[in-house]
Amino acid sequence: MRFVIALPFLWLAVFFLLPFALVLAIALGSNAPDLAPPVELGFSLKNFALLFTDDLYVAAWLSSLRIAATATVVTLLLGYPMAYAVARTSARWRPVLLMLVILPFWTSFLIRVYAWIGLLANNGLLEQFLRWTGLAQNPETILGTEWAVQLGIVYAYLPFMVLPLYAALEKLDLGLLEAAADLGAPPVAAFLTITLPLSLPGVVAGCLLVFIPAVGEFVIPDLLGGTGTLMIGKVLWDEFFTNADWPLASAVAICLLVLLVGPIALFQRQQAKSLERK
């Protein structure tokens, strides 16, 4: 039994926990382009100071949070009715519908984001469609804007929202809704007082599963966003790969981690609780 505990424990300690200590150490050092790796160890907070004083970084933080939050809300508004409808279809169709939600998840994330390039591009399929239907004569190109990034996030993370919501809604005892109706609650009131509060764990889990990775998202802003869309994940990437500034990139990583520690802890608690309740 000791070995069974030690194997995952040691693996994760060495390959997951220890690296964070290294990231912190590097973040406190400074950039040394002439060395390989380009780092001079030290103890300075200047990288962190830069992140909170430089306008570019501050803007990137804020817009990451805004984009992720907006996209999470939109995903919830789209995902909730879908999960609800799936949970209420007949038992015969439910597995099929559920499989169709999961299927995109099994295909490539990169390619699903790629799919939107052709759709949203200048003179792309969406613009052609809008012109053809006469809905808009000179539509503005969406690709390269924040809109495209939000759309991409909603699209890519929709299954992560639908699945926990479905799990929560499917568990819901329909007798409770009958009881609510019996006590005088019209359907809307019954939804607000019974269904919604009881599916709240699913809502929280779904929102966290979208929000946390969306804040640090790189692929979507890189492929669908433009030079104007600043997101912190892309900043980290550029600092690391383009500017080769490892200490600054590490500082970004540390800040991102600190920012998300609350939501991640919340997600873990929920996960543990939902397993205990079974």
Partner: protein
Amino acid sequence: MPIVQIEGASKRFGPVTAVDKVDLTIERGELFALLGGSGCGKTTLLRLLAGFETPDGGRILIDGQDMAGVPPHRRPVNMMFQSYALFPHMSVADNVAYGLRREGLPKGAIAERVAAALAQVKLADHGSRRPSQLSGGQRQRVALARALVKRPKLLLLDEPLAALDRKLREGTRFELVRLQEELGLTFVMVTHDQEEAMSMSTRLAVMDLGRIKQVGPPHEVYERPRSRFVADFIGIANILPDGNRWLALRPEKIALGVAEPPSAPLPAHRIAGEIVDIAYEGDRSLYRVATERGVLLVSAANVARDGRSFQRNQRVWLAWAADAAQVLDE
């Protein structure tokens, strides 16, 4: 005017006819029981009254009003669910207050009525608990309080005692009857337990295959079953052929004796036999007696302390009064 009038109500689920052209009238202040085995349609009939199902045919009137097109939340009836359906995310008090909040009553009035309802079911100091922190019996009483607090014209109870253990069930029976009499409400209760239906109800309806087989006060249904089904379903009955008709004879109506009873009043009402089996039940025993008219069940009180008044294979005489047997229609 009766509180409930059901006229030719039917309900089908696919190929199954759950409720088949049922006519039924329930008077104000009754404790009415719908009795039957599983799948007999009693629960569907209750759900038709609550409005969770819409009839395929016929009419349902509550307090003289046609309920067609009236959704559950607008009906003047409340239900106590078999599973209790207590809202797990609300405290006991919030559960009971739920229906009153939907009526938009002022806060003070709600608090008052909730407190009174909880006191009525002896849960006055449990208001702040969650349903999950209560025992089965306490949950049952919360469900009752939640339905009663709305002062419905009609309280529907779906197997109200089924989830309780045996000891608790007996006490709760009396409790329910007491509440019903005190409040002067009409209760309609669904149960599969004939003893429960007999001991609690003022009138009961025996259902089978979506139809009502017989309606009446418990003693009448028991003593004067009209069909073989009812005679068999309620209590135990010996079904005897008598010319081209059938007789139902309850085991406790038969006297068991060692000596041949006097031939008066009529020879048809006595018969000789041999005990083939004895089931000792404490207060009484049930005997299977083989006779020339088949095996008859006889129930006799165990008056003697050693309880062994009769032995297996013993030759005995059976006798019953002229009016003990009930002639069946079918």
